[in-house]
Symmetry: C2
Subunit: 436 residues, 2 copies
């Protein structure tokens, strides 16, 4: 059978990895795909740099439009990133009848609806396994492997940088800043780490998974984002004493009222498998009504793991390229005309358990004031410990609540912080049992 | 689009689960598949029992051949099990142009080559996600999600019964017989548990995964099987003291000399994620050259989890049914004309690390005799502890070796057992770091 010709737009880490995998495993990949996959062309502004990365025997151009529109190219691989030029190029490739593979989570989470609609019009495939959790085939699992299920919720460690920092903070008792500096030194965090540590990256990935799980449009603008930069080693230690680990989770859940879509540090019981996913590794826990909980674990970033996902998408397209477009697997797991408009819940309407740490003056009656407010807001307490404080004459009260809607907790915190005996802002973290 | 009609042969636990899932999630499944999936017919010798399980509105027949050959049926679901009548019926269904979904690991591991060849001739699909690790979409991951990789090895906890027994033995210090009795009481083990506890079931599943990973024919007859029935709580405790858990693993590995295919109790470091998979849960760890290690975890058995896999296969077939047979995903991940005939290694040629426990008379010089034999066989020792024995005047020597080919260990054990100071059979367990 005739080879499939692919062209890469944007030659960096993942582009280099893709070239390596296609070359090194060419024989094995063609035994699977039934045809050769040929990296025919690559586009990069810096041609010399791209040549160094992809090696000889591949045409390199500086204008990515050449790849997006070239008559010899069957599949265009977009590895430029961002939503500006990348979006234009992806739409151009689609308009020219090319299938597209992309690792660009931001592009899909923010403009996916438009891109998939255009692809549908033109009868081409858009595949994006590499956009979520790197090499872990979680897109395929959600879109195909779990297709029998009413998916109830997903909770994922989907940002390796943050997970590395949290692992260092726990294992070495480091403050956030030191763990971040260490991550930067090792190349696990960017010079400007905002995108990773404040939850944006995880939010993009979560938005894509929610669309696949529930058959809803991409709605990144409604995703709640809270990062890890204000977390203290002290709270991680207290959580540990109570039997919990703190992880930056992306959580999406279907409730009677609507869909939760939220990224935040979360206490989870140390006994659940995903609590033991450490360092830069990623894992996604999916709860389906039939299958129960399933977990998918692996490298969430890096040249070769991400290339593994890019090339799997190419093989999928090679296998399906001649099939009737109406019979292919739908982009977002659900048929485009069967997408639901379930409402997305604001964070105030989300139900969770909570970890609260309150700094108080150590005198009689303070605990009574606190527990009175919680009772008044119908918040019931699961556990409570009192800790000495480093500050003279003060104490810390750490408590875990049962499940309650977030607006009650917000109200309780405002009232607690107004108490004369409370000396600092209340620390509030969410907590999930992940067994429901 | 016209509905897909399915018929079930053999209505038991999984058949009931499949009927439940198809009914309960009908709306959501059709939103994904683009067409309704209708359970039209079921065959069972006991018609009244089948009626109780699948409910009204479905035609029930006693002769499964009616389902296998019925002109209205598009997909036949084989849930009879075993290799006798099930094989005849699957071949009959294929001959009648039906796509087949089966959960029958024994049938595929022992007769898969013949079945897939026939299916290819007739241009129909045979899907079997439910045959390995229940609801975990591991077949899809191996066949499609990891298609870019040169797969190096797989290690799986793929028999829930055995994992439950081992978990109980460890957590409660129970002897094997008591843990088995408890598993039987809870319905996790059959009255005759041989198939599960002696590794046959895991061997069937492993054989299927090896074929998918390496592009080799099914060769169950060359799979090495060693079960857990002779394991003692004492060895599990000693392993734990050394930082290891004992799991019944199915391991298949590609080496320069050939393919390893083996099921046996295995010591693995407690720090690896799969060591913390407990109870009846399953997990499969796959090492690919590009993606690195990935892990897939979930329920390996049960009505609804297995039905989740059966129905995912039906949806896959519904999506691909009209595609050109030459462009579908190959049954065993590799194109049928590109299957390799790599040799399968006998257990003597396998390389592993080992746990050895030797009962000796507690007197000077014994350890020297032992270590002399090991040195002479070029077996190097990683750790060694000496333990008091319950038997007067005796001691136990527990040692862990570095990696070495098994035939040297067999030879060393024979020589050790021949020593006058050695009072009992040597206990030999294999050990894997799972980080290679």
């Amino acid at each position: 059978m005739k080879p499939i010709n692919v062209g890469i737009m944007g030659v960096g880490t993942v582009g280099g990895g893709t070239a390596t995998v296609l070359k090194r495993n060419a024989e094995e990949i063609s035994r699977r795909a039934g045809r050769a996959i040929v990296l025919k062309m690559a586009a990069n502004l810096d041609i010399a740099r791209a040549r160094e990365i992809v090696g000889d025997g591949i045409e390199i151009v500086s204008d990515a439009r050449v790849v997006a529109t070239h008559p010899d190219i069957d599949i265009v691989i977009e590895l430029i990133g961002g939503t500006g030029i990348a979006k234009d190029l992806v739409l151009t490739a689609i308009d020219h009848g090319k299938h597209v593979v992309t690792a660009n989570k931001k592009l899909l989470a923010e403009h996916g609806n438009e891109i998939f609609a255009r692809a549908r019009e033109k009868g081409v495939m858009v595949a994006f396994e590499a956009a979520v959790a790197g090499g872990i085939p979680i897109i395929k699992a959600l879109r195909e492997g779990l297709a029998a299920n009413h998916i109830e919720w997903i909770a994922g460690i989907i940002n390796g940088t943050s997970n590395y920092i949290l692992t260092e903070m726990r294992e070495k008792g480091l403050p956030f800043a030191d763990a971040l500096a260490e991550a930067q030194r090792l190349g696990y965090a960017e010079a400007d780490p905002t995108f990773d540590i404040e939850g944006h990256d995880a939010g993009h990935k979560l938005t894509i998974m929610a669309a696949l799980a529930f058959g809803i449009p991409m709605q990144f603008d409604k995703c709640y984002l809270e990062g890890i930069s204000t977390l203290t080693a002290q709270d991680i230690r207290y959580a540990e004493e109570l039997g919990y680990r703190v992880k930056l989770l992306g959580i999406t859940r279907r409730t009677a009222a609507g869909i939760e879509l939220r990224v935040h540090p979360t206490l989870i019981p140390e006994s659940v498998l995903i609590a033991n996913v450490n360092g830069v590794m990623n894992a996604v826990l999916v709860k389906g009504d039939a299958v129960g909980p399933t977990l998918y674990y692996g490298a969430g970033a890096g040249a070769l793991p991400t290339a593994s996902a890019v090339v799997a998408d190419i093989v999928d397209i090679a296998r399906l390229a001649t099939a009737d477009p109406e019979h292919r697997v739908p982009y977002l797991a659900f048929q485009p005309d069967r997408i639901a408009d379930l409402p997305l819940l604001p964070i105030e309407a989300v139900e969770s358990s909570y970890y609260l740490r309150v700094c108080v003056i150590d005198k009689p009656g303070v605990l009574a004031e606190l527990t009175h407010i919680l009772a008044d807001e119908s918040i019931s307490i699961e556990a409570l410990i009192q800790k000495g404080s480093e500050r003279d004459g003060q104490a810390e009260i750490v408590l875990l609540t049962h499940r309650v809607v977030e607006r009650r907790v917000q109200s309780a915190i405002a009232r607690i912080e107004a108490l004369a005996s409370v000396t600092d802002k209340v620390v509030r973290l969410r907590m999930e049992a992940l067994n429901g």
